[in-house]
């Protein structure tokens, strides 16, 4: 019995966004990374094209993070030095570097200044070849100050600046436009705010091919289904032609997975059946990422090198053509 393959006829697609700039393009990156561009649901290549495979961003910080024992063996020798850390992330297979300027948080004892942050970004760019994304310290005013300085220091490199939020996006958008960078718009697991923020950022004059969405992932076991459904709805919106839901999505698999006790608790504090911490932590992050892949994630913020290895192999399998 021949089965008539039932294909969805979509009119829209996910916006393609390029991160980084090579020498020819006015930057110093060895390569650029393209995000998004899909004209179908995740991995259904038989009914549309998926021109860019999901990318892997490694999370690095400008100060030593409180990641504890599970990460000591991997980053213990570099996490006091953002440049060394960035280089290590490249060695471990980062497509993109994601620098969080946590050290500029004004609530810290000796917060780094906007100038310090600009210098850190500059020296990271001088010593690495991957495209860069930069997240400010989170404090609204300091964010603006820091990201403006970073945007200037990285002029021509087409980095991404974040996080622009509904109540604080104007000056970040201005910094992004000034330096011709991309912008990361964050919405709090809310499809309406996601769309509203995209409209506001676009109205500021940012080009659509410069916008990345961070709809704030929830981790496995702790509300990931909310993120999953919001991403599925946004992807569907993009495919039926809503351009304000069509920006590539970053998924915070690493940071969210490692907030869960299931990932970091040592065996003596583990729940019934959980087993050893190491494989559990690696799988908690990999599973978080893999689940969000199925909802349409375009770039994954990751921490554990072993989780990244698994995720990359899994993406290889998902990206194999499945035409009928």
């Amino acid at each position: 019995m021949p089965v008539q393959i039932l294909k969805e006829k979509f009119t829209g697609s996910v916006q393609e966004v390029v991160l980084g700039a090579t020498k020819e393009e006015g930057g110093t990156r060895a390569y650029t990374v393209k995000l998004g561009g899909s004209s179908t649901l995740p991995f259904l290549q038989y009914e549309g094209s998926i021109p860019n495979r999901p990318a892997i961003a490694f999370e690095i910080m400008d100060i030593k993070p409180e990641w504890g024992a599970p990460f000591e063996p991997y980053y213990g020798d570099v996490w006091n030095d953002p440049v060394a850390w960035a280089k290590k992330a490249e060695e471990l297979g980062a497509d993109v570097l994601y620098l969080k300027l946590a050290g500029a948080d004004p609530e810290l004892e000796n917060p780094k200044s906007a100038d310090d942050c600009a210098k850190t970004v500059k020296v990271i760019l001088e010593n690495t070849t991957a495209p860069l994304m930069v997240e400010g310290p989170g404090h609204p005013e300091k964010n603006n100050e820091v990201l403006q300085a970073v945007g200037e220091a990285a002029a021509g490199e087409n980095i991404a600046l974040g996080l622009a939020e509904k109540d604080n996006y104007r000056s970040i958008a201005a910094a992004a436009m000034m330096g011709k960078h991309c912008i990361i718009g964050r919405s709090p697991v809310d499809i309406n705010i996601l769309k509203q923020l995209n409209i506001m950022i676009t109205e500021m004059g940012i080009a659509p091919n410069k916008i990345i969405n961070d709809p704030m992932s929830s981790g496995l076991g702790y509300g990931i289904e909310y993120s999953y459904s919001i991403m599925e709805r946004a992807r569907w919106g993009a495919l039926i032609g809503d351009k304000m839901m069509a920006f590539p999505v970053i998924c915070l698999a690493g940071p969210e997975a490692w907030r869960a006790k299931e990932s970091y608790a040592p065996l003596e504090e583990a729940g019934p059946g959980w087993g050893e911490q190491k494989p559990r932590g690696i799988m908690w992050e990999a599973m978080t990422a893999a689940a969000l892949l199925q909802a349409g994630g375009d770039i994954f913020l990751m921490r554990h090198p072993e989780s990244v290895k698994l995720l990359k192999k899994h993406i290889d399998d998902l990206m194999k053509p499945n035409d009928y």
Partner: protein, 440 residues
């Protein structure tokens, strides 16, 4: 997608006999269309009309049940492509393979022992797949008997040799196992075996075409589908087609639950592959691994995916004692959103300091959402706390609130006359908070 009243009316006797309880056949047709009446209320409907009405009003994907006693697994009866359109109803059954020529009893013991607990939920493996790896009918039969003697989990009998299947199925006839699989060569015999013990039968095609063909001609309706694909991206494509054709086109040969087998050798990659199959419509997924990290994460994912998006998940509001509490025990408060509650409960437990935890009625909203919605504020908590039973349980008046809502401190103190201590913003800060501030 059911029929309209008018379409149903055309199939009724149109005699207006009133025996169904409504005055006219038209009125009865309208009642049927809206689900307020059932066809058996009409004594005169023809068999022919009955069949076409039943198939038109049948669910797009048939509900299939496997297993017996307390371990019945319901599969299929799904209605949507996306969980946000309604919900997914019957969680994917997670099965683990056992080769018939291995130490079956030991392996089944191991599978029985796999049990995971987190956030107030318990996860266990749903079924055991006995695989006729030996190719020998007697070995298969003995292995099935050995497994059945060890476990009440649902059994999946994997052999395409009809004679081996017949002998093995007879041993577990009363357990309603799933039989795998009917193919182009053996389907008549397999259907006969399945019918004899009323067990669900998997049809295994070589492609979607072949699978539809088999499902159409097998002459049995308790089916589960396997398109034969084993490559991850291909399985996802096939499963999506099967679900889509069943729901959107009511393509009957695909109106059944589905089964997927992992093919990855590495257990971690295997778990990720199984994750994709759970996300993309498998009713059963069969794995080889028994690694704890793989199964814990997979069960957690399944539980999240099948959470009903239409209702907030809440715990019973009230005062919970954690550990051997005394009148000196500290008192924490959080919302009754179950994820929040269980996360806090886990952390309070791990301080090893017996404590009270209040799950405050916020209609299942999380702390910040409930605060923003006026359900977790001083004006709500204060009056409740003032008259609460907690006043009789402890000899102090100190309440620990989540750090994210420090602003409600003053109002609670004013109304309830309790001292409010601002706790950490995140649950994972509770243990250091308890050490520092409570001497845990």
């Amino acid at each position: 997608m059911g029929l309209t009243g008018l379409a149903i009316f055309k199939l009724l006797p149109k005699t207006n006999c009133k025996e169904c309880g409504v005055p006219t056949c038209m009125a009865f047709a309208m009642a049927l269309a809206s689900g307020k009446a059932t066809l058996d209320q009409c004594p005169y409907v023809s068999d022919e009309a009955k069949e076409s009405l039943e198939s038109a009003t049948a669910p797009p994907i048939k509900l299939i049940k496997a297993g017996a006693g307390d371990n019945v697994l319901a599969l299929g009866d799904e209605q949507v492509m996306f969980r946000h359109d309604k919900t997914f109803f019957h969680p994917t059954g997670i099965f683990i393979e056992v080769a018939d020529n291995a130490d079956v009893a030991a392996k089944v013991d191991e599978i029985n022992g796999l049990s995971f607990e987190r956030v107030g939920q318990k996860y266990v493996v749903d079924g055991v797949a006995i695989v006729n790896a030996s190719g020998n009918a007697d070995t298969f039969k003995d292995a099935v008997a050995a497994a059945a003697g060890k476990t009440d989990k649902v059994l999946l009998l994997v052999s395409e040799d009809a004679a081996a299947m017949e002998a093995a199925a007879a041993v577990v006839a009363d357990k309603k196992p799933i039989l795998y699989a009917a193919n182009a060569d053996n389907y008549e015999k397999m259907a006969e075996i399945a019918k004899k013990i009323s067990a669900p039968l998997v049809v295994k095609g070589k492609s979607l075409d072949d699978t539809a063909d088999l499902a159409g001609k097998v002459g049995y309706k308790d089916l589960i589908l396997d398109s034969g694909a084993r490559e991850t991206s291909k399985v996802i494509a096939d499963m999506t087609q099967i679900r889509r054709q069943a729901i959107k086109k009511r393509f009957r040969p695909f109106g059944y639950p589905t089964i997927a087998f992992t093919s990855e050798e590495d257990p971690y990659l295997e778990a990720l592959q199984a994750q994709a199959y759970i996300a993309k419509y498998a009713s059963i997924v069969v794995l080889k691994t028994t690694e704890l990290a793989c199964l814990l994460t997979l069960f957690s994912w399944r539980s999240n995916l099948y959470t009903d998006p239409q209702k907030p998940i809440a715990v019973q509001p009230g005062i919970y004692a954690i550990g051997e509490v005394t009148p000196d025990s500290p008192v924490y408060i959080t919302t009754n959103f179950s994820l929040t509650f269980y996360t806090v409960q886990t952390e309070v437990e791990s301080t090893r300091l017996p404590s009270y935890l209040i799950a405050f009625e916020t209609e299942g909203l999380s702390v910040l959402t409930a605060w923003a919605g006026g359900k977790f504020i001083g004006e709500a908590i204060g009056p409740w706390l003032k008259d609460s039973e907690i006043n009789d349980k402890v000899n102090h008046k100190k309440l620990i609130i989540p750090g994210g809502v420090a602003a409600i401190k003053g109002k609670i103190e004013e109304i309830a006359g309790w001292e409010v201590i601002v706790g950490p913003r995140e649950a994972n800060g509770i243990s250091s908070f308890a050490k520092l501030k409570l001497g845990a």
